[in-house]
Homo-oligomer: 346 residues x 2
Amino acid sequence: MFICPLPVTKRDKVLLGHGSGGKLSAELLRDVFLPAFSNPALCRMDDQAIMEAAGARLAFTTDSYVVKPLFFPGGDIGSLAVHGTINDLAVGGADPLCLSAAFILEEGLPMETLRSVAQSMGAAAERAGIPIVTGDTKVVDKGSGDGLFINTTGIGIVRAGISLSANQARPGDCVLLSGYIGDHGIAILAQREGLEFETRIESDSAALHGLIGAMLAASPAGAIRCMRDPTRGGLSSTLNEIAAQSAVGIALQESAIPIREEVRGACEMLGLDPLYVANEGKVVAIVDPAAADAVLAAMRAHPLGAEARIVGAVTDRNPGLVTMRTALGTTRIVDMLAGDQLPRIC
Amino acid sequence: MFICPLPVTKRDKVLLGHGSGGKLSAELLRDVFLPAFSNPALCRMDDQAIMEAAGARLAFTTDSYVVKPLFFPGGDIGSLAVHGTINDLAVGGADPLCLSAAFILEEGLPMETLRSVAQSMGAAAERAGIPIVTGDTKVVDKGSGDGLFINTTGIGIVRAGISLSANQARPGDCVLLSGYIGDHGIAILAQREGLEFETRIESDSAALHGLIGAMLAASPAGAIRCMRDPTRGGLSSTLNEIAAQSAVGIALQESAIPIREEVRGACEMLGLDPLYVANEGKVVAIVDPAAADAVLAAMRAHPLGAEARIVGAVTDRNPGLVTMRTALGTTRIVDMLAGDQLPRIC
């Protein structure tokens, strides 16, 4: 019901799917932004840029948040904006240092809404121990925005000896996932469409730098090849990016992927595939098999990784493709998200 | 005609004036954001945060750009977004290192518009020598945005020995201004309202880090107390902030402030005061009188400072107030912008 088919003609206008994190987003990056901005840090195409500066390696990442509705079970646009940017630093192996916060407000937004969102951001930043140190506010006339958009941008310091990138996966590596997938997307969708389930599904929005720090500390340098948080486009898009950038295959085991019963049920009812549904508090790691047990144990010892699993392996077959061995024993290709399954999810 | 009067009742909704850079913006910062995010770097309330990290002092600044129209004489939203954030780093005494770029696109935006803006950003970044190293794109449904909003966030390295802040102005200091004021605001307004003047007025949008580097190099450490780029809210709001934060008076000489004849004429016709009109390529510096001539000479030797002048002095009278000796010999108070003279100027 929410699948927006790709037009086959040349895309001369921006489509909702260009913000999906899937194929159209990749196309926009390749056709418009990379040619305009080209430089080595950007071309790495990870979730964060990493630069040598002042004798350290700085990580730098930006995200705008346009989630609708602003408040949802398990979070709101403010806490999401703090968690999302912290996570994009952390998956680069960086200790987050600070955040900026920039608001685009629509004229007429209730001041109480803004105050709630700001307080939630402040509380999320304080819980995470990462201060919001600079900001900006713009106001657009009524009808030119949608209540409230937030940009957060973050700086981190990459840990010594750590170098993670989506082009480092090697055949034989294990694919680790920190927990249940699909919670965030289904929580948003249920709130937006007024759907009610027996159990309330909450967003998994959370700051992952503590979990990721524990994973890095539990393994020798280089054993974790890369990490990603599977947000827009879900687990499938994240793994497809890694498979493409590392020119390897990734083989998933469906039975190993943790999905809550209620999320599975909601997806079936709505015609969604949980592999494409956004998460905001999960991490995927590609790990040297020799270190996988130690990393998994470190994940399970952390509250945000209690349900961590090995969900697949990197292979030299089908380079660039993600495949999945289904519960029925068949194998299917898990393609990158085409179009937009669920707009304005983050 | 564009003055939006302040409602006297409690402001329970966001007004356009909350984005003006004037009194309402300051109120929003004080009442909503500072209580929610409070930390020492943010409370400095300069145009950029400065933090010790990795043995260096990092400058960090963010701005969203919602200017309307997207293209205007002398620039566009893309080049403006590059220049504005470079300038906010430079006025903190930092050498800009890199930028992020985050886009919020409205569904249906012509791809050609996006491509033009991206190319302009890339060209501005290349001219300035500051790469755009990371980015993000979100798309909102038609009617929930206005074509295209951009956030740029920047990192810089503060020069050794340099410590600029708006609380460092001292009585006796000189107020230096790098050139003509009001060009940007009038260029935008003319384009937006379809006004035609005999001479086309162009935005002064420019990257100031070269000019500012020359000013710092021409003076001993500490001689330049603070610098600001007088954008939203114009020269008046910038000087009011410095006067308030340093608890000093600032006395301007109207005859010394460079304003183009055509800008003066447009302002008279439109009922605007050029002191409140935005600039995007000008810097104000508060300078030790012993170093003022050397700094002024360095400014005039740079193409972006050819029209630099000493426009006033810091005094111990009227702390917190900006006053101006008019051409008629009278003195008037130059208050901070109240409400919004011209929305969506940057």
